[in-house]
């Protein structure tokens, strides 16, 4: 018999396979970004200095030790909180029990009245569960985000995330996020 040549396997596709794997790993590694609720803590102050805020301007949200939510000393459910917070932040009907509106000038909006002095005071007990606390924080942040989104849609016809930086800043100034994470106190 005549000597036959051994056929060489075609290896040109291994490069493509390896490329595919490479791209897969590149993408998955960059996609694992950390997500979380971003907050800003107040700078340290002397404990004696207590800021006086008018009663109508504060919304006290307390997460008690048995993980119940108390809003202005009334027990509420989690799903109620967002609407309460939204009404509190916006004060749409100029209610005298809700935060005072003050005139300010904001780019793109001009002279507007907003509830600038409002504060949402989030308090908790030492034995409150962390997950409950995060749920409440999440609802409060959601209230701000929804208000900002609604305002963006009304004035610019786009959602907040789609706006450019200047407009985002203007909208954020209209509804400034004021969640105060109070220093721990002992609650009975």
């Amino acid at each position: 018999m005549a000597k036959r040549e051994v056929p060489q396997p075609n290896t040109s596709s291994t490069a493509d396979i390896a490329f595919l794997l490479l791209i897969f790993f590149l993408i998955t590694t960059t996609m694992v970004t950390d997500t979380g609720l971003s907050r800003r803590l107040p700078p340290p102050v002397d404990s004696d200095v207590e800021q006086k805020v008018e009663e109508r301007n504060t919304l006290v949200v307390l997460v008690s030790q048995d993980n119940k939510i108390m809003c202005q000393k009334k027990e509420i459910e989690l799903w109620e909180l967002k609407d309460i917070a939204k009404e509190f932040i916006e004060n749409p009907h100029n209610d005298i029990h809700l935060p005072k509106k003050v005139p300010v000038t904001i780019d793109f909006f001009g002279q507007v009245e907003i509830t600038k002095p409002h504060v949402i005071s989030l308090q908790n007990d030492r034995s409150t569960k962390y997950s409950k606390y995060i749920e409440v924080q999440n609802e409060l942040i959601a209230a701000y985000n929804e208000l900002r989104d609604e305002l963006s849609l009304r004035t610019f016809g786009k959602s907040f995330a789609e706006l450019d930086e200047d407009r985002q800043k203007a909208v954020a100034d209209y509804y400034p996020q004021k969640i105060s994470e109070a220093e721990p106190k002992e609650y009975k």
Partner: protein, 161 residues
Amino acid sequence: MAKFKKSSKGGSQEINASSMSDVIFMLLFFFMTVTTMKEVEYKVQFQLPDATELTKLEKKSLVTYIYIGPPTAQNRARMGSETRIQLNDKYAEVADIQDYIAQEKGSMKEEDQPYMTVSLKIDKDTKMGIVNDVKQALRKAYALKISYAATKGHIEEHHYR
């Protein structure tokens, strides 16, 4: 000249591509090893809480991590099951946080320091007492930008309770 004589056969010559796969494989292995090595060895267990209003942490180099949760199973005999704090890859106390933050800040570029973010990876069953202590320590250390690490998910109680 005669030096650059065309090959007698004519037509385009095929390039030998057999080494290309090796090069790419090498790159692939590089990425695979680098990504697994970057992780800190967790000494505490934590299951992050769910949330919907998440923001992404952009620059990894600006982020410092603090882990809080019960010790992992292999450390439990030694450390008990009380909630512990992990900084870098060892257990720590609340009092160590200020030094840790100062040290982390020092290792950053000066212009980056104001943008330092502390990501708190806290188990969802943790009691708020220890979280408050950590927060107070962070305030004292002037690490004011924090992020409560959470995963995207629905909050069940929303609809059912």
